[in-house]
Symmetry: C2
Subunit: 251 residues, 2 copies
DNA sequence: AAATGTATTTCCATATTCTGGAAATACAAA
DNA sequence: TTTGTATTTCCAGAATATGGAAATACATTT
């Protein structure tokens, strides 16, 4: 199946992930192909403006075209634009980092974030793929996902910490509780020492289109404070859902 | 040169740009290829997780992988993260939409934005490519760009409004003025009725790595107010430059 | 229910494109 | 200048992509 296309995409991937510019030989070595082959792939990437040569002999680097196309894909999720100010407000009230994420395939992807302190920042990357079964927004998304996605997720409950839920039955019960309460919490289930609270964002057709919440160091998220955060998160998600035209709770 | 790769990239591009899911036949028609060919390209995109089939017969859609990789590319521009709070503050003080953009090839690309009113929003897209010679941040970036980029830009001074500068000599003079004053302004040069003020952001090695500024409707940006905005923009860009480790003005 | 129409998917022989080695070229360092 | 390394070009041979046809899967109409 379109072998050279697959190779090309792999090269693009590699180029986008690498820190600096990548040389022909370097790419060839990394991919296990010949330099002439790598060279041709790079030429194609340059021709399509996905990459550009750096200086005279500096190798090649990814252009922003990748991001530009990606930004369009994300823009279709108009949740992001609508939620943005509310995410900022949630952060201001909660004084904890606020996140917005969506389901993409069998993973959760952070779409936006408003951070509190610079010091506690960047556990996870915006645009990064993370597991569903042990993150706050991930558990929310999973709780409302298709049976197919749920089934797939349950087959691979990888432990990240001792507190990660790895028993399918327990996770099912947890998801049931999340659906009942409309809110999910985690405590050191993915990253040690980090807790989170998350709730679903509901779209115009009554389906969950995203999840939002706050996360921060356990040291700051004691039970009493968690109760407050749950209310804030719930209020924010309800507000965003209403803006998206979600059917009201009166049904 | 790697024809199937080029076709594949074109398909990816098309998929990312299209509003909804795209069918096999639809893609084939749009690209002028056979359905079997289109089908194979899509298979490759699915195999690499750049696309996914939607439902049973709903065609294919781009995944967020594109954006994910792109987000990494943008993340290397740590200007974005550092400038973010200052951009927000600039917007709050100026009460006009604040923008951050960088040079990518021969274009200006909006990397981040903080908007004022929802009503005046979205002239231009985040992630969008725009001309250098008639936008505020574009002119700044051009003023400090390589000779090669400047030369290329001067060869294609496309007019967007009657006020767009199309005379190379006049643009050179304008760029000279921008370098002297450290600030650029536009009035209806790209979009009719829109004005902007922009200044360079200087990185650790003393080179211009981005430009930031504000833009809004001419009706609000009268000369007196423009003077205030110039100061605010200058202050903000200086502040961000300092955070990036730019060499101080004492030199 | 059956038939029709449309879109997707599979299959395969053929022709085209991709492949990797070798040689040429371009730099940088010794 | 010489040496070493990386990039780029070229080409005959080999492997892969190609498009037509047929099979399959749905949705809509009869």
């Amino acid at each position: 199946m379109d072998k050279s296309f697959l190779k090309g995409l792999a090269a693009l991937d590699l180029l986008a992930q690498s820190e600096g510019p990548v040389g022909v030989t370097q790419l060839a070595r990394a991919m296990g192909i010949t330099p002439s082959n790598a060279h041709r792939l790079l030429q194609a990437l340059v021709a399509t403006d996905f990459a550009r040569p750096v200086g005279a002999r500096g190798g090649y680097e990814a252009t922003l075209k990748l991001w530009r196309l990606g930004a369009r894909t994300v823009a279709r999720l108009d949740v992001k634009a609508i939620a943005a100010p509310h995410l900022a407000r949630l952060m201001a009230e909660a004084q904890e980092t606020a996140n917005l994420s969506v389901l993409d395939g069998h993973h959760m992807v952070y779409v936006d974030r408003v951070e509190t302190d610079v010091y506690f920042r960047a556990y996870n990357q915006i645009g990064g793929q993370y597991p569903l079964h042990c993150t706050g927004t991930g558990k929310v998304l999973l709780a409302y996902a298709d049976d197919a996605v749920q089934a797939m997720a349950l087959t691979d409950l990888r432990p990240f910490t001792p507190r990660t839920i790895v028993d399918p039955a327990k996770l099912m019960a947890e998801l049931e509780r999340i659906r009942a309460e409309g809110i999910a919490t985690t405590m050191s289930e993915f990253r040690e020492g980090i807790a989170s609270v998350a709730a679903p964002v509901i779209g115009a057709h009554g389906r969950v289109v995203a999840a939002l919440g706050v996360s921060g160091p356990l040291s700051r998220l004691k039970p009493a404070r968690m109760r407050l955060l749950r209310d804030m998160v719930r209020t924010t998600s309800a507000r965003v859902s209403r803006l998206l035209g979600a059917p009201g709770p009166e049904s």
